[in-house]
Symmetry: C2
Subunit: 369 residues, 2 copies
């Protein structure tokens, strides 16, 4: 870990910087949006992976936290959440044993989409005499996890209701197919509203009342109130934002709190510079929306294109008007996908202007299991 420098300009590179003013504005905006529309906010902590930041989200009114893995749940106990949603099927005896230890310390809910997952969860809960909440995951068009609305969903809910030590709480969904709220995205959003409406009517006819309907995504974040029946949102990226968020239309460049400070290490090829961050610093995630393949936005040269990367090399094609950079110069680059970038850094720096106010260890980094 880099020793703490008092000034951001003195940090060694690459270093992931968090602009605290922007981050605080982002946190406030979404907390306000959720409150205004009476939506429960259960932020996904996979973006920041830092308990201290999760605590801030709770202090701003979040009802609980979302995590993707048991390992993240263990880390997030440090934020003392009243409630933890594991938004991922927890499969296998070892993980379930660890989940039960988490559930001894706070209320746990699991999103799942199979009888096998429900059965395993019930068995583990029963042997520990713990009750676990369950959200049945529904596929609303992404084709990833989730049962189809209709008979499959009803069967799964019935199974969960029958299994001991499980408490069916409602529905989880993730409309990851909507990349951007453009014309097509708008049509997808309307379709989604109909799917949810029909599903809830379906449940009602079968005698099921979902206490929680939890869903949404970053591109649809500020449109969540238009999805009737939805009671809860689980946004993650909003705390920092990134190129993908901006390209999706859910934020502007000035809302991007996170950037990676890098040093120019070579200018040997004309019209190009090489910086000391590549796929091990940014991740090789491409943009989820938009045509151009770029791996980030150079703050000091927005016309430049981050065309390519190797593990430790970032290739920046200098655009027009061309700024001249020299070996040793430092620039900040907003990553495409901040969640995976955070996962590559041991620690990140919270700055205000040039002052480093905070150094956070990324406690949830590398929690694969």
């Amino acid at each position: 870990m880099t020793p703490l420098a008092a000034r951001a300009s003195e940090l060694d590179t690459p270093a992931l910087l968090i602009d605290l003013d922007i981050m605080e504005r982002n946190l406030g905006r979404v907390a306000g949006y959720a409150q205004e529309h009476g939506l429960r906010l259960r932020p996904h902590t996979k973006t920041h992976k830092i308990p201290a930041l999760a605590r801030r989200q709770l202090d701003l009114g979040a009802v609980g936290l979302t995590v993707a893995k048991v390992g993240e749940a263990e880390v997030m106990l440090d934020a003392a959440p009243p409630d933890l949603l594991v938004a991922y099927p927890t499969i296998g005896a070892r993980k379930l044993e660890r989940l039960m230890q988490v559930a001894r310390k706070t209320q746990v809910t699991v999103a799942l989409d199979s009888l096998t997952a429900a059965q395993q969860l019930s068995d583990a809960s029963r042997s520990h005499q713990i009750e676990i909440g369950v959200l049945t995951e529904v596929d609303v068009g992404l084709g990833r996890v989730g049962v189809a609305p209709g008979r499959d969903l009803l069967d799964l809910i019935e199974a969960v209701e029958r299994l001991p030590n499980l408490r069916w709480e409602g529905i989880a969904f993730y409309p990851g197919q909507i990349k951007k709220l453009d014309g097509e995205g708008e049509r997808e959003l309307e379709k989604l509203a109909h799917v949810i409406e029909a599903m809830l009517q379906d449940l009602g006819r079968a005698g099921f009342k979902a206490r929680i309907v939890s869903g949404g995504s970053t591109p649809t974040l500020f449109h969540s109130h238009r999805l009737e029946g939805v009671t809860e949102i689980r946004p993650g990226t909003y705390i920092f934002n990134d190129c993908n968020t901006v390209l999706s239309g859910a934020a502007d460049w000035q809302d991007c709190a996170a950037s990676i400070l890098v040093t120019v290490v070579s200018t040997a090829k004309k019209g190009q510079m090489i910086v000391d961050g590549g796929s091990k610093t940014f991740s090789s995630d491409r943009p989820t929306a938009g045509e151009e393949v770029s791996f980030g936005r150079v703050v000091e040269a927005p016309e430049a294109v981050f065309t390519k990367m190797n593990e430790e090399h970032g290739f920046i094609a200098l655009g027009e008007p061309r700024k001249n950079f020299e070996v040793g110069d430092r620039v900040r680059i907003i990553p495409n996908h901040i969640c995976v970038a955070m996962n590559l850094h041991e620690c990140v720096y919270g700055i205000r202007g040039d002052v480093v106010e905070q150094v956070w260890r990324v406690e949830g980094r590398g929690k694969l299991q």
Copy 2:
């Protein structure tokens, strides 16, 4: 970290497994190749990032080790290498200070391509009264780092020769433009041989004799002896191999020592399964050669295609003949690019058959600086 299980089949997932029999065969093959052709072998440790494995490479005849960053150099001191090559320009006072501490413990050589990098290195070396070896990096067609052969190279060598406390050792190059030794690759290799030959003649006429000519890449590995004048190779991936190595023609599937054990967590969508490893487990690196975008090869179902990934979800399209997998089943997947995958794992498991013989911490993981 997962507690040690005696059996690979009892490990929690995702877990990165190293088949020790295959790894040892790979290590022996390249050590033998280097010896047969009188090439110095200075393996790039960025692939495994584990000092104990670097030590094995040295014990098999490697003359030293290659690293990409000062942080990796610090870690690799544990392997007690007689020589460390930092194959990357080291820029900035903090990194150079750390490099000097490394150079107090073993002989250090740095590859660089600019006067700025040479000047900074000389200043640091002089203030510590240490001599550092320098390889001048030449661009042989990739267009990444490296000066052009010819006047630029001669100017850089002259500058290095003049600067105090630097010892010019020779040339480094990386022909990353050759992705595969097919027809086009063969033509590229011949072109490369000519470039190197002309460059060395050029140097000779100017009165420079390169003691070391260090280069090559994974696809060209077993053709290195065809590049006249080359004295040293720095392969990394050969210890494990991966999909990219196989697609490049430098290895077969049975030479792939590393795979990632994952669990099927959802089969809700017909013809597809979701496994509990995505971009945070494999990295989102796409294949460097070949047309089809796949993120890995399922050992138990080679006809399946790893079509897509999110952070924690791997999407596997089950091909024909379709095997049926159920939630809870476990499969092994060979990653596209093992170097970046290793970087995502805290520890990896050395197995022989189903027996876990070794658990290695990936000590060089996350060394960004």
